[in-house]
């Protein structure tokens, strides 16, 4: 089972999930409606915010809509990646297909990535749609020069989230019901990240802690790039800060997921739900 022989299997997972998604046509429509509703809600909230209270990003003052759009995008990314990884395992358990997958000559990593790939590919499409609609309706003034550095920073952030997702998936494998805890965790991280409001409005001690939140680091960097037009040099610091966190998160995630999987195999409870 080399990496090369495993790669085509990922396409098989995507094809499977595409077929399944097509059998739930109303689900996709519901997702789009949810995003559009969020846009309307936050645009109305934005009218209540005093523009003078908004922070500066690389010298540029953001509007609330510009500020919160980036926050929502990143928060949605974290939520969806974490949720997807845990959901994939849980869904296979519930549909009774987890054991059928594991008896095939397929690496567990391939099963893990493959089971989430379709929905993870769907995330950027949703976010792009979200940003496109916002840009047209509210006339967002984002710096195109900042798109590439911001994207690289976000890509560097993904392994960190992926590692957390593996831990969540492992926990779901063992404790069965963990998606509620994931939701609570994401809400807490979102609260302390400045996704929906500037960190300066938090109590001083909480704002101090929140500054070390990896999501807050990424959000600040992405806003600097897209709102303030900051370039590679300005984003070097958050990129360097994220690197060890990403390595640690992925390592811990892989170790813990394998640990939980071995435990379930030993106890003979892998297929239980």
């Amino acid at each position: 089972m080399s990496v090369i022989s495993e790669a085509p299997k990922l396409a098989a997972f995507v094809r499977r999930d595409f077929r399944i998604a097509m059998s739930y046509r109303m689900g996709a429509l519901g997702g789009l409606i949810a995003i559009l509703t969020q846009i309307v809600a936050f645009s109305l909230l934005g009218k209540l915010v005093d523009p003078a209270r908004m922070p500066l990003f690389d010298g540029t003052r953001a509007t609330y809509v510009e500020f919160v759009v980036i926050g929502i995008c990143l928060n949605l990314t974290v939520l969806m990646v974490l949720h997807e990884l845990a959901r994939a395992v849980r869904t296979e358990q519930l549909t009774g297909t987890l054991e059928s997958l594991l008896v095939t000559p397929t690496r567990i990593g391939t099963v893990q990535v493959g089971s989430t790939l379709f929905n993870l590919l769907y995330i950027p499409i949703q976010l792009f749609l979200f940003l496109a609609v916002i840009a047209v309706v509210f006339g967002l003034d984002l710096h195109t020069a900042g798109i590439l550095p911001a994207t690289v920073l976000m890509l560097e952030f993904l392994p960190f989230v992926w590692g957390l997702g593996l831990i969540a998936a492992g926990a779901v494998l063992t404790f069965r019901r963990g998606t509620g805890a994931i939701g609570a965790g994401v809400a807490l991280v979102g609260l302390g990240s400045g996704a929906f409001f500037p960190l300066s409005v938090l109590p001083a001690w909480l704002a101090h802690i929140a500054a070390y939140n990896p999501l807050a680091i990424v959000l600040s960097g992405v806003r600097d790039a897209l709102i303030g037009g900051a370039g590679w040099q300005a984003l070097a610091t958050p990129m360097l800060e994220l690197l060890p966190l990403a390595v640690a998160s992925v390592s811990a995630g892989m170790f813990l997921f394998r640990f939980f999987l071995r435990r379930e195999r030993r106890l003979g409870t892998l297929g239980l739900y």
């Binding site: 399944i20 739930y24 549909t95 059928s100």
Partner: protein, 299 residues
Amino acid sequence: MLVRDVVCRFADKTALDGVDLAIAPGEIRALLGPNGAGKTTLIRVLSGLVKPQQGTVFTCGRVGLVPSGDRSFYLRISGLENLIFFARLNGLKLRQARSRAQELLEAVGLAEVVNRPVGRCSHGMQKRLAVARALLGDPQVLLVDEATHDLDPEAARRIRELVRGIADQGTAVLWTTQRVEEVPSFADSVTLLLQGVVVFAGSPAELVARAPTDRYLIQVCTRDASGPPQLAAVQLVAGPGTTITPTNDVGYFVLASRNPRGVGLAVARLVNGGFDVISCRQADSEMEEAFLALTGAAA
């Protein structure tokens, strides 16, 4: 397939305790045992889903699994799409996977429902689909966990014929079942598990030889039409060495004798003693008797 001294414990329960098993190419070995005996655990150990604490499992080539559960497919997509997906996980390219899936769907008699979502297929169809999936990787060992458990006789027969055909091509088959009556005409050998321990391993004929009694259902009536035959009268006439047990139906009794000639003697005595013996046939399968005797459930 060779299994040596496999021990498997879950918390304080020993599910398998020193299990030995060998299956030759082309052989169908039935794995019998009451609920909780460890049959499914053994299948899961052999398929790599459960890691035993002790012992060795040696399989010569790929292993195919037909799981016992009802739900092992993606119900929203068709049988063909399910098989294509699993075929690709077995390393086949898309075109090969499609061709292999279609070939197997035809082999299991599901060619006419290839595009039907699995959720709309009958239970028997899903079982046949599970057999087809197990064959995607051309396995040398096929593990079948209660494939006929809740199928109607015709569907069960089709599954058995299918598996027999696969074994005839050289695949070693381990067939777990609760339907002991299907074993004599289907399996080449039998292993009986009880509380995780192998209590019998041999041929179906050797297992039948363990049956303690011959039991026959007889229908009798009184020759003088004086009323329904009474148990005490029938027992008295049948004589010692033969046990007569009443059934819920008037005139029907179960006759059991350890003596090979006991049944004939008892029938002759009943006829000479004023009864007409209208019918006489074997009551339970001998295999079931042997199973019950060996698992201690006969009483």
